[in-house]
Symmetry: C2
């Protein structure tokens, strides 16, 4: 059986695992991402992480023959380069990701954006396993997603595909004005349906100043805070409406919902799903809407699947 | 060179043409769709139309070896059947489209929804020729579209993909209430951005009762009617916002805008494109937005391309 290393490189940590072509995950390891030190330092640390896994695998008689990496940022998956990244990882833009890893490791490497890797993992082994098409949408610090068709995420012509948080939402308005969005525009889904947007809405609408983050707003909601309940329900309704609209357009076999909000419990989930189903065209009314099931390992196995298929 | 017949079967008329694999269209012909007479009668009439074209081609020494049909309704493109259709074509639901044509004509037949055929035609020979991915959106009696990847429209798991008019639009509200949509829900793009929606908005907002259709509203706008100008601009902005949001998600090489409104002139187009570009993520800011170029022949050649590739 073939084995590869899958890497999930995010803004704060980099996790990796040895993954077999049957989907088994033998060993995993994690390091902080050197997000202030630039591309070369991150590649050095990532290569050291992969090398450690390769050696542990070898000690068990397992040979690793390729590396797949899912990385934050807009990734040119053909050339294996970082087209752009936010300041969350300084100096990441322009990094020769796959060439740098190949050079350091002597192994073939392949790369894709981490959200696409996440969706690929769920499509291979998780909530969408066995389906030919799946739409994954993640609601957390931001809103992102991926549409996977026959084991391949739709990357887009400029590798920008999957920005499912950046389309208009009727909910992303306050006093008839569109809420500012992280992309520089306004009125987008992410501006109302992300985790931070829930805290922002609570503060904007006069909630208790003592609640300093989204987690605290959820806690307040559990204790019966009416405003907290209202802003969470609205964010969830915005999320569900967005997913439902895209289901009408893409008609995936299954919609996979992921991210911290998807794991936050029934309050968010029920409002999200109710709103989602209210959007659906009649022939789509029975579409499966499922929670992502692989947790943190999704992007690792998704990146691994890419390496398994590429080499 | 191979030749096939491409058919565009719509609610009021059925057009067909003999199309060569180089994209040349030798002969075209058109009949009214027998939209009150049921599936068998429509198949009979369509087969007669195709037979006429096959004979005319034969007289020129050209052999037609297959038929591709783009049809109104939700079409199961694998089995060649009509999953569902509106009352615009009574008795069309359930029709064995390709089997019925094969039986009548003795030629292999393939079928797809007409909007997908339209987009395929533009992707092959029209505004998106030479690109690997294109998003076509048509704004006319309704709002529909198709995302074509490497010559294949994304049909969706239940062949419902492409319903780009049925997602939420912040513009599709009147006095804070979502406008009813043809799908039975409310607040969708089609409820504000279709042709009929422009006339409805004009009437709803107190426009002159003498204007009985969308064409008349456009005429009034040309003569300086402020309300007509406003409702057209708003519909165009809703259309552009919808296209822009989907460009962010799908990142097509090119966005093709089609339908009667796309052909209505600068008033609509300029407001549409301005709104579209205001949505785009920075790396997409230079995306090409072009008007469909094939007119009525788009679905004929698109359906033909399907037959050319399938057989």
């Amino acid at each position: 059986m073939r084995y590869v290393v899958g890497v999930d490189l995010g803004g704060t940590k980099t996790a990796a695992g040895v993954v077999g072509e049957d989907g088994s995950v033998l060993i995993t390891e994690q390091i902080p991402t050197l997000n202030r030190d630039g591309g070369a330092a991150i590649l050095d640390a990532t290569a050291a992480l992969v090398r450690s896994l390769v050696q542990q695998a070898a000690a068990r008689g397992v040979v690793v023959d390729a590396v797949g990496i899912g990385s934050a940022g807009v990734i040119n998956a053909v050339e294996g380069t970082v087209i752009s990244a936010t300041d969350a990882i300084l100096g990441w833009t322009g990094t020769q990701l796959t060439a740098g890893l190949r050079q350091r490791l002597g192994l073939p490497a392949t790369a894709v954006n981490d959200v696409h890797a996440h969706a690929l993992g769920e499509a291979w082994l998780g909530a969408a396993a066995g389906t030919s098409t799946s739409l994954m949408m993640a609601f957390g610090t931001g809103v992102g997603g991926s549409f996977v068709v026959n084991g391949q995420p739709l990357l887009g012509h400029r590798f920008v595909g999957g920005h499912v948080g950046h389309f208009a939402s009727p909910y992303a308005y306050h006093q008839a004005r569109p809420l500012p969005c992280s992309c520089g525009h306004a009125g987008h889904v992410e501006a109302i349906a992300s985790g931070p947007a829930i805290h922002s809405a609570y503060v904007r609408e006069g909630g208790s100043a003592g609640l300093t983050d989204t987690r605290a707003v959820f806690e307040a909601a559990r204790l019966g805070d009416e405003l907290a309940l209202a802003v969470i329900s609205r964010a969830a309704a915005a999320a569900g409406q967005a997913v439902g609209g895209l289901v009408n357009i893409l008609d995936p076999a299954v919609a996979v919902i992921s991210g911290g909000l998807a794991d936050s419990g029934e309050l968010w989930w029920d409002a999200m799903e109710r709103s989602l189903r209210a959007e659906l065209l009649a022939p789509l009314s029975n579409v499966s809407v499922v929670r992502a099931s692989l947790g943190a390992s999704a992007a690792i196995v998704g990146a691994a699947s890419l390496a398994l298929h590429q080499y």
